[in-house]
Structures are given as C-alpha cells and as structure tokens.
C-alpha cells in the first residue's frame, strides 16, 4: 500500500553517558506504515534510543535519521516530522485538556480551531465532558489521550512512544493499541519501547529485543508465536542466549 520508505533509521549508533555506554552499535530501521516494538529489560537502552531520535541525546558514534534528516544537524526540521509520547505525558495541570492541546499547538505554530481541537480529543476517545476539566483531575489514561491528540494535531510522519501503555488498565491499553495501529495504517512510522509483550504482539509489525545497547533479536510480529516470543525474551533477560 505504501512505498515502504524508511522513516526512522539508526546506523551503528553509539551513545555514551560520560564513560557509560548505553547504546553500543545499534542498527534499526522503521519504514512508513510500520509499528516497531522495542523490547528489552531495564537499562537495555530503549529510552536512550528514543531520546537520540528526539535529539535529546547526541550520538557518540554512528548516525540517526528521521526521514533522511539528522536531528543533530536539522533539529527544527526533524522535530516538525515527529511526535513524542512518554510514559507520563507532561501537561499543564491547571489547564483543561482542551486548553493544553491548544496551548501546545500554539507554541508549536500549529493552527487549530476550537472545534478541531474537540474533534481531535474525541478521536482519541476522551469523553466530551472531560475536555474542559482541569488536567489535574485526569487519570493516567486520559492524559495519554491528550498526548495522543497533541501528536495527531501535529500530523507527524513519525511517532516515538516510550512505554505508552505502562500503568494503563488492559482495556485502556487495548484501546490505545488500536489507535496506534490506525495511525500506522495511515502511513506513520511508529517506534514504541515497551515491556508489554502482549501489547507488542497485538499492535506491532516488527519486534526487536534489545540488550546492553544492542539489538539481539528481531521478529516479524505477524509470524512469531506468542510463546516463542516470550521464551526468547525471557531467555535473553536471563542471559541464556
């Protein structure tokens, strides 16, 4: 359906924090329309990878590209192409969800009407009566939805998700997964760090397992069996492989 153009790419990426090597020669690529789930234990380097794509970290070695551009050289162009959703979406607590959406959009130079803002929130499944309530009264899932609305207002080509479903109840996580899938089906490239194997299998096209800053195993999510995935994941975590 899509000319599977590579939108996210890491080539021989190395990231050091002072003397500590967090990413150690990572090769990764995510084409348009693909959801890539990044698995791996704590400290495997998932967040570091995402932060490097965001330009929060600088590569110590190798390169990262977003739609062919390097975040280091063209930060503005790159940031215009991507949307970011952390585990805890940070919002202004004393503003409503709607106001947060409008505020972030205004700052990012994105023009949206009030109606459009309502529509965007609705599309993420946020109840209408919550739109004008202060965010301080929101649950984690509701904040996630506002974050998603901000990301979709941006009409980004690439989405970076860092443990987006952790702390969400199963039905909320499922709902979230469906929306991500829908976004990818419209041509977005999605990179998602997660600990949720079930969720990964459900939403992703490709699954990668990271360990000590490297990609140690990759699967086609549609063909790998859940049992096999779980087995491999645990084996890597226990250092058996």
């Amino acid at each position: 359906m899509f000319p599977n153009k590579t939108l996210l790419e890491a080539r021989q990426l190395v990231v050091n924090y002072k003397n500590h090597r967090a990413i150690d020669g990572l090769d990764l690529s995510v084409p348009a329309g693909c959801v890539y789930a990044l698995l791996g234990g704590n400290g495997a380097g998932k967040t570091s990878t995402i932060n490097t794509f965001l330009g929060f970290n600088r590569p110590t070695g190798g390169n990262v590209f977003i739609d062919g551009e390097s975040p280091d050289q063209n930060p503005t162009v790159v940031r215009a192409k991507l949307a970011y959703l952390p585990e805890n979406v940070a919002l202004y607590e004393y503003m409503s969800g709607l106001e947060n959406l409008s505020f972030f959009c205004t700052l990012a130079n994105i023009r949206i009407s009030r109606q459009h803002a309502h529509d965007l929130l609705m599309n993420t499944g946020l109840q209408t009566d919550a739109h004008d309530r202060r965010v301080s009264t929101y649950s984690k899932g509701m904040r996630q939805k506002v974050g998603l609305a901000i990301a979709s207002a941006k009409q980004a080509k690439v989405m970076l998700l860092d443990e987006p479903t952790s702390g969400l109840d199963p039905s909320a996580a499922n709902d979230f997964a469906r929306r991500i899938r829908a976004a990818a089906d419209l041509g977005m490239a999605v990179l998602m760090a997660t600990h949720d194997l079930f969720n990964a299998k459900q939403v992703a096209d490709r699954i990668g397992i990271m360990k000590a800053g490297r990609l140690v195993e990759e699967f086609d999510a549609h063909t790998v069996a859940h049992d096999e995935l779980e087995h491999k994941y645990l084996a890597h975590a226990r250092g058996l492989l």
Binding site: L54, F56, A80, L82, Y84, P86, A90, L107, A108
Partner: protein
C-alpha cells in the same frame, strides 16, 4: 501562571504593603509640609515685626528657610532623615541643614529605611524572583519542557514569551497599586508638569530594574536542574544586590574618601578665617589693611571721621572673607560626598540596586545634588538679607558712632525666601552614571538570557 492562585495572593499583598507604606509616607510628607509652612510663616512674621532696633541686631534674629519637597518624596524620602529640612540663616556663619558633616549615620544607613521606595527597590525584586525562579526548572521537572522540545518549539521564542509574560504578570500585580498611588498623589498635592515627568522617568527606570531581575531569574532557571537551587542562587543574588552591595560600597567609599568630623570641619573654617587663605595674611593683618584702604578711599585720617559706620563696614568686609572660606569648605565637603557616592558605585558590580536607589533619590529630588542646590540658594538668600541689614547699619551711622536703627518697614521689605526646585533635566543631568549602570545590567541580563536560551536542554 495567571491561574495560579499565587498571583492573586501576591498581587493583593503587594498592593496592601505598597499602599500602606505610601499612605504613611504621604501623611508624613503632608505633616512636614504643613509644619514647614506654619513655622515658616510665623518666623517671617516675627522677623517682620521686630520693632525698632539696630539692623545688625535684627540680622541676628535670623530667618528659617525650608526645603520644599517634591510630592515624589513621599515615594522616596531619600536623604530626608539625614539632612533635615530646615536651614537657620544667621549672620557670620553658614549653617548646614542639620547636615552635620560627621553624620553619625554612615553612608550605609542611608540605604536601609522602610518606605514605599524601599518596597519598590528592595522587596519587589524578590517578587519578580518568586514569579520567575522556576519558570524553566518547573517545566523541566514536570517534563513539559521535553514535550515542548519534541514539538519543535523554539527555545528562544519560548523564553522570550515567558519573559514578556512574566513582565506582564508583574505589571498586573503592580498596576493597581500604582494607579491608587497616583490618585492619592493627585488628591494630596498639586502635581506640576515637572513632577509628572519625574514620576514617568522614575517608573521607567524601575521597570528597567525589574526587567533586569526578571531576565536574570529566567536565565538562572535555565541553568539549574532544580527549582530549589535556582531559588537559592537568586535569593543570594538579591541579598548581594540589595543588602551587601550598598554596605560594601559605602565602606569602600568611606575608606577612599574620608569625611572630616564636625569638629574638624568647623575648626578648619575657623582656622582659615583666622590665619587667612594663601597669602592673605591673618585676621588682624587683613583688618589693618582694610582700615587703611577705607581711610584712603574716604580721604579721612581716622575712622571716627568716616561718613559711614565703620563697624558695619568692617563687618561686611570680615563677613565676605568668611563667606569665601565657608564656600570653599562647604564645596569641598559636598564634593567629597559626591565623590563618595561615586565610589559606592564600584559595588554596582554586585547588583543593580545601588544604581536604582540612587536614581530614585535623584528623581524624587531627595539626593545630595538637590540638597546642595537648595543650600546654595539659601546661602545666596542669606547674603541678600544680611547684606541689606549691613547696608542700613552702615548708611545710618558714621565713624565709630553706632546709633543706626531699623524699623518694621525695613524688616517687612526683606523679600521672603522663594525657592524653585530644579527641573527634571537637572535630575537627569545628575544621574547619568546610575542610568548607565542600570542600562548595562539590563543589556547584560538580556544577552545572557538569549545566550542561555540557545543552550537550553530539556
């Protein structure tokens, strides 16, 4: 930030504190003005109705004059406490406006009194800091900074927006108090055009001053990881600018430019009068020379034959010499005070507060320059009326006979002291160094802010 109930509470407390201090100052100012007017009127009336007496004896009755304060003095009383308000004008001797050269109050004391001005220059910067210290650190702590960053929001734009928003919020806090203050001023004083100009200039410089603190607070907020550290650093800066710098500057200035004690000051004048300046010869020699001159001028052999009173002639001669000596010493003293206040500015490196305080005293007409302007005018007036009494004494007597008399018609003919305070341009002319220091701080703070914005890390 506006939603933050904080702002409302702050606005209200600032309003209350400022208006409180201001009302107290206005009341004090009016009370003083009234006292000055009544005392002044009574004194002049007593002078006018001295009855028949020797003109020089009348001169010794003396005249009180008062420095009329600008309405702005109720915002910034400046040196009022230290210089006093009345000047006693009498023959032979120039008085300071209770401006004892060995002011018991050190220079430092001049900086720490509670007034509306103190709130404006010392407390409000704290408010600016309170509003700004976590402008960036809080966003970093909450994670919204990362959100903004990932959205491609330009750091410079974000920070300039925050900076302007901060200044606006601050104005929202300040405006009600300012509006009420201006209404109070209008109701209580006849504001002249010059007062309005001074008030505008004062508001402008205060705005610059707050902008310095706002920009510094924002930049600090960028550089520190935690709000607490940023706050700590900013309060330290505030302390150094408002509390430490003036004292340090004063100590340095007092060391660099010593001011004579009152005793030494008057003794110096007495000695110069007695021994004479340069090669003028001592008191006796000068008098002898003068006597010969007069005898020659009037073509008589002895003072008894002079057609005018010799006592008055000699007095005028001695007084004019004494005036010369006084002028020399008073100018020297004023210059020393001026040099001292210049030295204080060295400490402006620690913060802009010294310069701000100095500008506000100058614009309110309550600084050394305005005091000197007034005292010089009063001294001129002293020459005028003492000169008149000497004229009457000389013309109405002759030789060594001393029967000259004056009447109420004479005393009443002495014009009252009328003093027009200098205009705002005089004030600005005396504040370029302060304004320059403020401007330098503002430019430096803004450059640092822009520079910090470029280095902003989420």
């Amino acid at each position: 930030m506006l939603r933050d109930g904080r702002l409302l509470v702050l606005a209200f407390s600032v309003f209350a504190v400022l208006i409180g201090f201001f009302l107290a100052s206005v009341a004090e100012h009016q009370q003083m003005q009234l006292e000055k007017q009544t005392v002044g009127a009574t004194a002049k009336e007593q002078w006018d109705t001295q009855g028949v007496k020797n003109p020089h004896a009348a001169a010794h009755f003396g005249i009180y004059v008062f420095k009329p304060d600008s309405p702005l003095a109720s915002v910034e009383p400046g040196l009022r406490q230290y210089t006093g308000q009345t000047l006693w004008l009498e023959p032979h001797k120039r008085n300071g406006a209770r401006f004892s050269p060995a002011a018991d109050q050190g220079l430092a004391g001049r900086f720490g009194q509670a007034s509306a001005g103190f709130v404006l220059y010392a407390l409000l910067p704290l408010l600016v800091i309170a509003l700004a210290f976590n402008a960036v650190t809080q966003e970093r702590e909450l994670g919204t900074l990362r959100m903004l960053h990932s959205l491609g929001v330009s750091a410079t734009r974000l920070l300039l927006g925050k900076f302007i928003g901060l200044l606006l919020a601050f104005m929202v806090v300040l405006l009600p108090a300012m509006a009420v203050a201006i209404i109070i001023l209008y109701q209580n004083f006849d504001l002249a055009g010059d007062d309005i100009l001074r008030l505008s200039a004062l508001s402008g410089t205060f705005f610059m001053y707050y902008a310095v603190f706002a920009a510094l607070a924002m930049s600090t907020s960028i550089h520190f990881k935690s709000s607490r550290l940023a706050l700590f650093t900013l309060v330290a800066f505030w302390t150094s600018s408002v509390l430490i710098a003036p004292r340090l500057g004063a100590a340095a200035a007092e060391m660099m430019v010593p001011i004579p004690s009152a005793t030494a000051f008057w003794a110096g004048i007495k000695k110069d009068i007695q021994q004479g300046l340069d090669n003028d010869g001592d008191h006796q020699a000068r008098e002898a020379l003068f006597k010969n001159q007069m005898l020659k001028q009037y073509g008589v052999a002895q003072v008894e034959d002079l057609p005018v009173g010799y006592a008055a002639l000699k007095r005028s001669f001695n007084d004019s010499y004494s005036e010369r000596v006084h002028a020399l010493h008073f100018d020297r003293l004023s210059d020393a005070f001026e040099r001292q206040s210049r030295f204080i500015h060295i400490a402006s490196l620690l913060g802009p507060s010294i310069a701000m305080r100095s500008v506000s005293m100058t614009l309110s007409g309550m600084d050394l320059a305005h005091q000197r302007h007034f005292e010089d005018a009063a001294e001129k007036y002293r020459h005028y009326f003492i000169g008149l009494t000497d004229d009457w004494d000389r013309e109405r007597s002759h030789g060594t006979e001393r029967g000259a008399l004056g009447h109420d018609s004479d005393w009443g003919g002495v014009k009252a002291f009328s003093y027009t305070p200098p205009s705002v341009s005089f004030a600005l002319h005396h504040a370029p160094a302060d304004l320059l220091v403020l401007l330098a701080w503002l430019v430096a703070a803004l450059i640092w802010l822009l520079f910090s914005a470029k280095r902003l890390k989420p």
